[in-house]
């Protein structure tokens, strides 16, 4: 197990998760997270601030600029996860997993489906 590092902020973690599925551009990241978590709104400001920090910390990197076939033919900046990003996501997932186990032992999740 790698050295214990502080877990990622939730938004950063979620960004990593949706980027692990495939490369995405900013708006696509926001939509993916929004669809996953019903009722949450991701706005440009908080998204790009987080992306900037993640870029700086080397968790993600730009892949290439290309148009999104579903939207229009304007070129967009796509992001992908680096190996450091994958590690960070794994660590965070583990940490979350430990925490969820603890919560389950305290019966906090009683009655909920085992997700």
């Amino acid at each position: 197990m790698p050295k214990e590092t502080p877990s990622l902020k939730t938004l950063a973690f979620e960004i990593l998760l949706v980027l692990l599925e495939r490369e995405r551009h900013g708006y696509s990241i926001a939509r993916a997270i929004e669809q996953r978590r019903n009722g949450v709104r991701i706005e440009a400001g908080s998204l790009y601030r987080t992306l900037r920090t993640m870029l700086r910390d080397g968790l993600i990197e730009e892949s290439e600029q290309r148009p999104d076939p579903e939207l229009d033919d304007e070129r967009r900046r796509y992001f992908k996860v680096t190996s450091a990003g994958r590690d960070a996501a794994t660590t965070t997932a583990r940490q979350f997993g430990t925490l969820v186990d603890k919560a389950r032992k305290l019966d906090l999740l009683k009655g909920e489906a085992n997700r």
Partner: protein
């Protein structure tokens, strides 16, 4: 990127430039995508919701990003994996250009808030001072805005006019609304002429106020109503909320009696029942059918009006042309201005004069209906607004002074920043920013004060504020408060800011940041501010003082009657008593006997009209004067013989009316001294005759006595007046006057019972006469003025005195070493105290002098509020001057004492 709305491009600017360079385009794209998606959903308001989310998010994150950029110094970022050159951090001193303005404002604001948080006492007192000033100004401005500036709540309300008969002999060539007493109401026939002959008046309606007694419920109820023709509704152009308004057919002679209810009455009395339409109401004994309900915002002619009735046939067919009681409201044809309309009605007046030669002198005057509604209240409101404005200016001066002192304390900081390359404008901007931050906090406090005090204030205005119902808390109040706050902040901050811009680097740094910092110019600015505070406070105090003096004159004026222990009880008889004068006479005889039998009642009189109870009538009258027969309109009252005793009105000559003056005996009258002086200045009026020229009563009455003058208004001399014995002219309305030997309020229940013992359907209204006088416009108005101006001037005085104290305390502190040296050289305590007091007195003296000049300059405005007191009354002005000087002296004494405590050794060591 042209598809991205301007708004989104603006949002991106919340972020610092390095961030925009990196992600600006992406964010704009993001917004465009989001907007497209929101719009494709077709949900209305989706775009709006999207914008507000985006705005909130950008503001928050943009500001945080800027804050982060400022926090991170280059030293702490070297370990960041991908450090890019970023914008200079720390207070952005050198980056010029308007592009960096938001960054500057943000940084400055943070700096300001930090500085203020370090001195919570200073910040709090400044915010409270500003809050009071801004709150009072916001309150007054919002009232003035609604009452004077907003259009009336009727469609195209600028086309609405009041139409009056004017008499050029009385009014002069140009009658104005401010002299309402010179505008005459008209009878129905004249109104019909105007309506039918003036095509420029698109719709014209006549109305008169009229109270009505609603019977049929548990207890008879007195309602405030108005008789109106259909034209009133057409002119005002507000549709009925339920049912219908009156139509021209309802104005015909023989049409049924109809009533339209106000929204309030409909709710309170009829439980908002839509089935009320078609119901019969018994109003003062006449059956009316309800045809409609007006919406809540329809307030005509007054906010208190509860119902509108059609005219009775009797009113519509009265042939009188020379005495009227109807007001006329009309809508000018659209596209026609007031002046052109006036020219057209002038021609109508001329044509009427050709048909009715007696009216050849009469004109028709058109007046903006809004001016009529606002009336003289406007002037009072503007005066209050002025007073409030003065207090705000004083508050500004006070804050400016505090900021100046602080600016001096921060000289070292400023000097260093300047040496590091900060431009003068940057330093000035920082100072302005601080005062604006303060004033915005003060503005928020003020807004709360204004909103909280608005209702109580409006209710406290005696006689009410016109259009009070329209005054609501809306965005205009916020705009006003925000505007005043920013203006205040700039005003208070501009002097300290200019000072900051002038700081000379070398001086400060050489000085080492301690020791002597003064400089005469600085003290002179502070002193000038304080002097102007004193001057303005003096003006407010002087006006308040003059009002107090005027009020004591007014209330101690000889009224001509004794109100102590007097109860009054106006009674209007229902129709069943109106058939013959005998019925009314019998009723009031019986009521008088029953009231007189109540223990504690000494005397019971009665009068058709009496002072402070309301109702006056001026019928045309002929008088056998010394100079021959004089025709004039003239006031009279019908009274019982006991009235003079109950009111303690003295006999001057001849005899009073007695019980022997009966229906069958010779008609007689008693006149007052003013009437005797006017018509018979040189001779005895006894035996001369007077005749009312009204239908059915053209008989000559002989003068048998003269009684003392009685004032109908505290601020007006008694006018010529005469009294007709009740037995010779019984009426169906009468005010019973009860002179009591005990506390009058104790008798009120028994008096009510006495009335209801005869007829339970008559509303009983019993008042203490002294209360009525107290609440009358001529007394309550000035008293209200005293309260408001008194508290404002007290506030002003306190602020000014604090200003004096602040400046002197500061000066003493600044000159501590100078004073120390003096003491070391042998100056006595007394010399030191005297030197400081002298400064205080000089400021006070100059301030009072300037204030005196202002007081004289505005004396024309003040004199309008005063009763028999000169606006430059030397006694009042001297007392106020001494008061201000005394307060200044006390405020100077504390710093003066402190000056004597300066330890010479300590002072010299500092050097």
């Amino acid at each position: 990127m042209s598809r991205v709305p301007f708004f989104y491009r603006l949002l991106v600017r919340f972020f610092p430039s390095h961030f925009r360079r990196e992600f600006g385009r992406d964010m704009e794209q993001f917004y465009a995508d989001r907007l497209r998606e929101a719009q494709s959903g077709g949900r209305p308001g989706a775009a709006l919701s999207q914008w507000s989310h985006a705005a909130f998010d950008s503001a928050r994150n943009g500001m945080s990003e800027r804050a982060a950029a400022l926090r991170a110094s280059p030293a702490s970022t070297h370990n960041a994996p991908r450090w890019k050159p970023r914008a200079p951090s720390g207070p952005p001193e050198r980056r010029g250009g308007w592009r960096s303005l938001p960054t500057h404002v943000f940084a400055d604001t943070r700096h300001s808030v930090r500085l203020l948080a370090k001195k919570p006492g200073f910040a709090l007192s400044a915010i409270v001072t500003l809050g009071l000033g801004i709150g009072a100004s916001t309150l007054m401005l919002s009232v003035v805005d609604t009452v004077l500036l907003k259009p009336l709540p009727y469609p195209d309300s600028e086309q609405l006019v009041g139409v009056y008969r004017i008499d050029p002999e009385v009014t002069g060539p140009s009658p104005t609304v401010s002299r309402l007493s010179t505008l005459f109401a008209v009878p129905y026939e004249v109104f019909e002429d105007w309506r039918d002959m003036s095509p420029v008046l698109e719709s014209a309606g006549a109305y008169h106020t009229s109270s009505a007694t609603l019977t049929g419920g548990d207890r008879a109820e007195r309602l405030s109503g108005a008789g109106v023709t259909s034209g009133v509704f057409t002119a005002l152009d507000i549709p009925a909320a339920l049912g219908r308004r009156f139509i021209p057919a309802d104005d015909e002679v023989g049409a049924p009696s109809l009533v339209v209810l106000s929204h309030g009455l409909w709710q309170d009395q009829f439980g908002a029942d839509p089935g009320v339409l078609g119901r019969q109401l018994s109003l003062s004994g006449v059956q009316y059918t309800v045809v409609g309900v007006m919406p809540q915002e329809f307030r005509f002619p007054f906010a208190r009006t509860q119902l509108w009735m059609t005219f009775s046939d009797q009113r519509k067919t009265s042939p009188v042309r020379n005495s009227g009681y109807l007001q006329v409201i009309a809508r000018i044809r659209s596209g026609v201005g007031l002046e052109q309309a006036q020219r057209e009605v002038d021609a109508v007046a001329q044509r009427i004069g050709e048909v009715h030669p007696a009216e050849v002198e009469h004109g028709i005057g058109l007046f903006s209906y809004k001016d009529l509604v606002v009336g003289s209240t406007g002037v009072g409101l503007l005066i209050l607004l002025g007073a409030v404005g003065l207090v705000l200016i004083i508050a500004c001066a006070n804050i400016a002074n505090l900021l100046l002192v602080r600016a001096t304390e921060r000289r070292r900081e400023l000097g260093i920043r300047q040496a590091l390359g900060a431009g003068r404008f940057r330093l000035m901007a920082q100072h302005l920013n601080e005062s604006v931050v303060l004033s915005l906090a003060g503005g928020l406090t003020g807004l709360i004060i204004a909103v909280a005090t608005r209702g109580p204030f409006i209710n406290a205005v005696p006689g009410g504020v016109p259009r009070a119902g329209e005054i609501a808390v809306d965005y205009r109040v916020f705009v006003i408060a925000a505007g005043i706050s920013v203006l205040t902040g700039l005003l208070a901050g501009v002097l300290p800011a200019l000072r900051a811009g002038r700081t000379a680097v070398v001086d400060v740094l050489q000085d080492g940041g301690r020791g002597f910092v003064g400089g005469r110019r600085r003290n002179r600015t502070n002193a000038a501010l304080v002097v102007s505070e004193i001057a303005l406070a003096f003006v407010l105090l002087a006006v308040a003082g003059l009002l107090v003096k005027s009020f004591s004159r007014l209330t101690s004026v000889e009224r001509g009657f004794e109100a102590a222990g007097v109860l009054v009880m106006p009674v209007t008889l229902p129709t069943q008593y109106r058939q013959s004068p005998v019925d009314a006479y019998v009723f009031f005889e019986e009521l008088g006997d029953r009231l007189a039998a109540i223990p504690g009642v000494e005397e019971v009189g009665g009068a058709s009209q009496m002072p402070f109870v309301g109702g006056m009538s001026f019928p045309p009258t002929s008088i056998e004067a010394s100079s021959g027969i004089v025709e004039d309109i003239h006031h009279f009252s019908v009274v019982t013989p006991e009235y003079f005793g109950a009111m303690n009105i003295p006999t001057v000559s001849g005899r009073l009316l007695t019980a022997a003056d009966r229906w069958s005996t010779d008609p007689v009258i008693v006149i007052n001294e003013a009437m005797a002086r006017k018509y018979w200045p040189e001779e005895n009026p006894l035996g001369r005759r007077v005749r009312r020229d009204i239908a059915g009563d053209s008989i000559w009455r002989t003068v048998v006595g003269v009684v003392g003058d009685v004032r109908w208004n505290m601020d007006q001399e008694a006018f010529p007046d005469y009294y007709i014995p009740y037995a010779q002219n019984s009426l169906w309305f009468h005010t019973m006057v009860l002179k009591t030997a005990i506390e009058p309020t104790a008798i009120i229940p028994a008096a009510r019972e006495a009335l209801w013992a005869i007829n339970g359907d008559i509303p009983a209204r019993v008042w203490v006469l002294e209360d009525l006088i107290d609440q009358s416009a001529s007394v309550a108005g000035p008293r209200f003025g005293i309260y408001v101006l008194g508290s404002l001037s007290a506030l002003a005085a306190i602020l000014a005195v604090l200003g004096v104290y602040g400046v002197l305390a500061y000066a003493v502190e600044q000159r501590a070493n100078e004073i120390g040296i003096r003491i070391a050289l042998g100056a006595g305590t007394r010399n030191v105290v005297r030197a400081v007091l002298q400064r205080g007195l000089i400021m006070a003296g100059v301030g009072v002098g300037i204030g005196l000049g202002i007081a004289v300059a505005i004396s024309r405005i003040t004199s309008a509020m005063l009763y028999e007191v000169s606006p430059t009354d030397p006694v009042t002005l001297t007392i106020v001057g001494l008061l201000v000087a005394g307060a200044a002296l006390i405020a100077s004494y504390i710093p003066a004492r402190r000056a004597t405590k300066v330890d010479p050794v300590e002072a010299l060591r500092m050097e």
